[in-house]
């Protein structure tokens, strides 16, 4: 067979792609793009979208703030009395959060804070739609971070051959 000139082949590639795109979705064609915001792609479970805070678990131990490479976590707390664990015990002294801010304008989404947290207070949520017109509004306080908790998914099942993981 004589060699087809490369230019003709090139025209063939674009024509084929056009046919693919025009072909209805049902037949396996269609565009590869998604018409945001009418339809949305759901990010994978592990996607690092936004950090959620479970306030009750936080002990203000400062580990996350110290391990943050960007210094974008700010924590203040006060001592408080909590009801005893067992009935009849003495009330426990706990650290209650006054302030837990993450400045998403600085955050580089490395996930180190979530990883170092020893008390399971920080979680990743794949939520991504929280852009703001004003940069100052990207500072999420503890209420807002707490609201993200609803969007935190279960950790995905693991591929065959993986060891069972302990903890989170």
């Amino acid at each position: 067979m004589p060699k087809v000139p490369g230019m003709i082949k090139g025209l063939g590639v674009t024509a084929r792609t056009m046919a693919e795109t025009i072909k209805p979705k049902k037949l396996g064609g269609g565009a590869h793009t998604v018409q945001y915001p009418h339809e949305k792609e759901s990010p994978p479970i592990r996607a690092r979208g936004v950090i959620a805070l479970r306030e009750d678990n936080c002990t203000a131990c400062m580990l996350c703030a110290r391990s943050c490479p960007d210094w974008c976590i700010f924590i203040e707390a006060h001592k408080d009395l909590a009801p005893p664990r067992r009935a009849g015990g003495a009330p426990r002294k706990v650290n209650k959060l006054d302030r837990f801010d993450i400045d998403y304008a600085l955050c580089m989404y490395c996930g180190i804070c979530v990883e170092v947290c020893p008390f399971d207070a920080l979680f990743w949520s794949p939520e991504y739609e929280y852009s703001e017109p004003k940069i100052a509004d990207l500072l999420h306080d503890k209420t807002k971070l707490g609201e993200w908790m609803e969007t935190v998914p279960e950790a995905p099942a693991l591929e065959a051959g993986a060891e069972k993981k302990k903890g989170k």
Binding site: A65, R66, W71, I73, I75, E76, A77
Partner: protein, 216 residues
């Protein structure tokens, strides 16, 4: 399977390959070869006298066969006088030990130039170091040995303030021409860490009327 490495790479237990390199360097440079650290089957560090820097490069290129230029840079061995800016301002500052202590293959000066070249045929690399005087840090240029050293020496010049004699064009590469200071020297402060307070300071208000220290 991938083609096996050449026979020379599968070095002997004593790593005859790298020992051969050291011997070749010693023969060519004599007592200008100051120190050697050899990790068998892993890596090789040599330190040469400052005035033998260019000659060592020539020997490495022509005799040892390391004709591939990997990188050239410098180290400031003085510990940073500023620490990591991660201390509580309310606590007294711990003094920082500023003794200069060099790494592999030793050294006498605070600043050291080091470079790495590779032998592509026999699959090994050599890290070569040389001291540069603290007062007037300068050393011969490698541009005539390895053409690629040009940019690396320019970078090194602006970042460490080390002069390279015989370099054709020792302009700043990244910084503005009138920039003062040498950013990668340890005594150059990292301002980004100093203008902001460290957020890692524990800020927990005690219960009213409770002065007992932290527990659990």
């Amino acid at each position: 399977m991938v083609a096996p490495l050449s026979d020379d790479t599968l070095a002997l237990p004593g790593d005859g390959l790298r020992e051969g390199v050291v011997n070749a360097l010693r023969t060519a440079l004599g007592d200008a070869l100051l120190d050697v650290v050899l990790k068998p089957n892993d890596d090789l560090w040599v330190r040469v006298r400052t005035d033998a820097w260019r000659q060592a490069g020539l020997v490495l290129r022509d005799t040892v066969g390391c004709d591939y230029f990997c990188f050239l840079s410098a180290i400031d061995w003085m510990p940073s006088p500023y620490g990591k800016s991660e201390e509580d301002p309310t606590q007294p500052k711990e003094p920082i030990d500023l003794t200069v202590q060099q790494g592999y293959a030793g050294g006498d000066t605070r600043l050291q130039v080091f470079a790495r070249v590779t032998n592509l045929a026999k699959h090994f690399g050599v890290t070569i170091k040389a001291d540069v005087a603290d007062a007037h840090p300068s050393i011969e240029s490698w541009v005539t040995v390895y053409a690629g050293a040009n940019w690396h020496e320019r970078e090194c010049h602006e970042m460490f303030g080390i002069g390279f004699d015989g370099h054709p064009d020792l302009r700043n590469m990244y910084l503005p021409t009138d920039f003062e200071g040498h950013p990668l020297r340890k005594d150059f402060p990292l301002l980004a860490r100093m203008v902001k307070p460290w957020p890692g300071i524990a800020d927990v208000e005690p219960l009213p009327g409770d002065d007992s220290e932290d527990e659990g």
